[in-house]
């Protein structure tokens, strides 16, 4: 069996395990390649039935319009049930306050919206498309990652995972984050997308875009991001390696116009995909700190 078939089979096993062990599972969907890939695997897991749980998008309100359009189109196509919760609602309810000024981002605020939504629907398992190769804190994540009643991750007290046995036991109010594609790398994801011919959002492919540079990262020029006077907007040929919201997702200059080009680019590239993420560069342990309080 090829490595991709093994990874696929493992992911399907994990998705089914979450559906079987949890009473109210859901799957997080951001419109990025990892969650698209995971939704595709969920279709496979329950074929010929539909995905037996809802997909949820936490919308910062700063998403690329292309992401939202793709999301609505793709999920309609596969007959999935979508729930959207917005950071704006959390702000309006006074659950959190928008960051202001240069470098403001709603990235951290998503955590509050997510935890509120989990409480609202009493979800006890949230499937996510995080991968262990993305970032060093994620390298130690479990497939079934326990979250306390406060949604928190305690990296020192994780449950051991042996063989294919996932301990999904929990008390009321506690939940699990479940990561079916833990063992995939960025290249695995792209090769799988190529193999399975999964349609992808246009943002991943090379296009002309007005961008400006900050701390070595190219950001899309938009009205959700305040700029310094010296940050000049230029038209460049770019694509996105990851898709988060506009305030923290950087573009790379690239001529890659199709999946094949992307695979060759990823294979030869010398920086990690999260190198284009402004949110990880805040401190050395930025991801670990956010995960502890309940981030994806």
């Amino acid at each position: 069996m090829s490595h991709l078939k093994q990874l696929e089979s493992e992911a399907i096993f994990v998705i089914r395990e979450a559906a079987a062990q949890a009473e109210r599972p859901m799957m997080l969907f951001s419109g990025g390649k990892d969650s698209i890939c995971m939704a595709h695997l969920a279709r496979k897991a329950f074929y010929p039935g539909n995905i037996p749980f809802p997909l949820m998008h936490i919308d910062t309100g700063h998403n690329f319009p292309e992401t939202i359009a793709y999301r609505d189109q793709y999920l309609k196509e596969i007959g999935a049930n979508l729930i959207v919760r917005t950071v704006q609602e959390s702000i309006d309810k006074g659950r959190c306050v928008d960051e202001t000024g240069i470098g403001a981002s709603r990235n951290g605020l998503q955590t509050i919206t997510l935890l509120d939504a989990i409480a609202e629907f009493q979800f006890d398992a949230a499937l996510g498309g995080a991968r262990r190769d993305e970032e060093k804190a994620r390298a130690k994540e479990r497939f079934f990652s326990f979250r306390s009643a406060f949604g928190q991750w305690d990296p020192k007290n994780q449950r051991s995972e042996l063989w294919n046995l996932f301990n999904g036991q929990k008390k009321k109010g506690e939940h699990f984050r479940v990561f079916p594609i833990s063992n995939w790398t960025e290249l695995d994801v792209w090769q799988y997308i190529e193999l399975e011919k999964i349609p992808m959002p246009a943002l991943y492919f090379s296009h002309q875009r007005a961008v400006f540079e900050r701390d070595g990262i190219l950001y899309a020029a938009s009205d959700v991001m305040e700029r310094h006077p010296h940050e000049e907007v230029q038209e460049r040929t770019v694509r996105f390696r990851t898709i988060g919201d506009m305030t923290c997702t950087g573009a790379v200059e690239s001529p890659a116009a199709n999946i094949r080009d992307i695979i060759l680019e990823v294979a030869s590239t010398r920086t990690t995909e999260r190198g284009t993420r402004g949110d990880d560069k805040r401190t050395e342990a930025a991801m670990e700190d956010r995960k502890k309080v309940g981030y994806f």
Partner: protein, 637 residues
Amino acid sequence: MSYTEAESYSVESYLNKELLRFTTAGSVDDGKSTLIGRLLYDSKAIFQDQMEALETSSRLRGEEGVNLALLTDGLRSEREQGITIDVAYRYFATPKRKFIIADTPGHEQYTRNMITGASTANLAIILIDARHGVLTQSRRHAFIASLLGIPHVLVCINKMDLVNYDEAVFQEISQAFTQFVKKLDIPDVVFVPISALLGDNVVTPSQNMPWYAGSTVMHHLEHVVVSADHNTIDFRFPVQYVLRPNHEFRGFSGRIASGGVRRGEEIMALPSRKRSRIKDIVTFDGNLSEARAGDSVTLTLEDEIDISRGEMIVRVNNLPRIENQFEATLCWFDDTKKLDTATPYRVQHTTRLVQGYVRELRYAIDINTLHRREAQTLELNEIGRVVIETAMPLFLDPYKNNRETGGFILIDPATNLTVAAGMVRYATARTGTEREDFMAQAHSLNVTREFSAISQEAYEERSGHRGYIVWLTGLVRAGKTTIAREVTQQLFAAGRRVIHLDGDVLRHGLSGDLGFSEKDRRENVRRIAQMARLLASTGHVVVCSLVSPRQEMRDFARRLAPRDAFCEVFVDCPIEECRRRDASGLYEKADKGEIPNFTGVSADYEAPVKPDVWLRTDGASPAEAAAQLLAYLDARL
């Protein structure tokens, strides 16, 4: 990127790419992190920004050069303490294979993490510092690799540059390690002399060690044959999820744990034992005519049988053991609570979750010396042999034959934590039918007593005591025959009607036609048990001494015994001691493969679950052991 490199990322190339999971255990001092760092760097799995981040943190800590260990020490708490606490997973790929590394710390206090990392690995890398040779830690890693059934071990003798690339050092360490692993169960051990720091024999062959003609580490990782590691014989399908999207469709989803299945094949559902045939093997990508171990599929059946999650679909002629009591090796994982035989734990095995007790802790195993010791409980990182009893039966195979259906975890119902990992010890019956026949005999033969012209009571009255069977079991050279002879003589001297049936002696006569295959051993036990039964029912004390390695065999003998007049005597002696006593070199011959199916070497010995008498013969003389047994019998004859 060159053309050839582009080729290696073509669809065809990754369709043929295999996956190898390996574990590395060791401390920073062994150069483990440096080795991993080098494998990652040379396979381009370390990116420029990761390298820059490493340089920054190394500089801030006042270290010279890049500290590759920082790559694998992911969490801040670990970086602060300068140790790796958890299992970290790393990924890299070459054109041939994708690799998943489960990187774990090597210190004794992290046995839990090593076991976790080893549970899914096909291969283990054990690092030995050439300057220090085989240390306790190396032995511990080898033991854990063997315990967790890792089929391939790659021993990297590192820091060869610090011993002048001396072949003699390499040979000496290889021999010492080989000597040690003989006691263990690792089918494939390979040694490579390396310098992780300088790159000798890691990815490229070393110029400094012309005397070494073997593979580099990377070459071995790319070429070691892992396709045969799966159990491809015994079809086991733990039902994970019952799929009922509409009234027409009912399928059983899951991943095939072992073996394979074909459309149209006859199957049996456990525990109901209902039979049906495979109607189809359904997947999103189209229905299949056959599927194999590792495939996630949905099975539909010809007949409407009620099957739920946690039940198992198997082939009718190849059943697992269906047991609610079994023996296992248990590793304790909880750092706050010890093993407690009064706590009802949850046992998670395949997709099945049942309640169970640890009924008995037979002994603990010292992971550094492999010695057994008496223990009242198990604490964090301790390993022991236990008997587990569950409220509902589990569908088990011995871990040695099947990692998927032989491994289980215990969950504490109060904390919901995973408190132990277990590996089933019991050997399985070859087929369900054979086992059923074996048991059926015991029932049918119970009836024959009615036909005897003289009653058992009459015989016993003449003997002056009960008919009774004393069954001594244990390894070869444990002392069974010596003790049995002593006991027989003393009983005879005391006027008892006694007879000694010795396994070795009977093999020259009554069982002269039998070999040592599993089947022949069972037949041998059957004959001796039947004879013992006849003699006991005619008022004899029958002293039987034979290895009888399976609990099932001994239980059979017990069931045959008239009126529960039976005692199981465990002649317990560590295998090291048995080997030492073995003047005729049987063990040595078995090591060389000259004697196949030799208990303790190439065949399993299932120590008695609850022996009536437990004689430890290392430390006690045969006379002392015989006296202990006679004292027990005295009250019962």
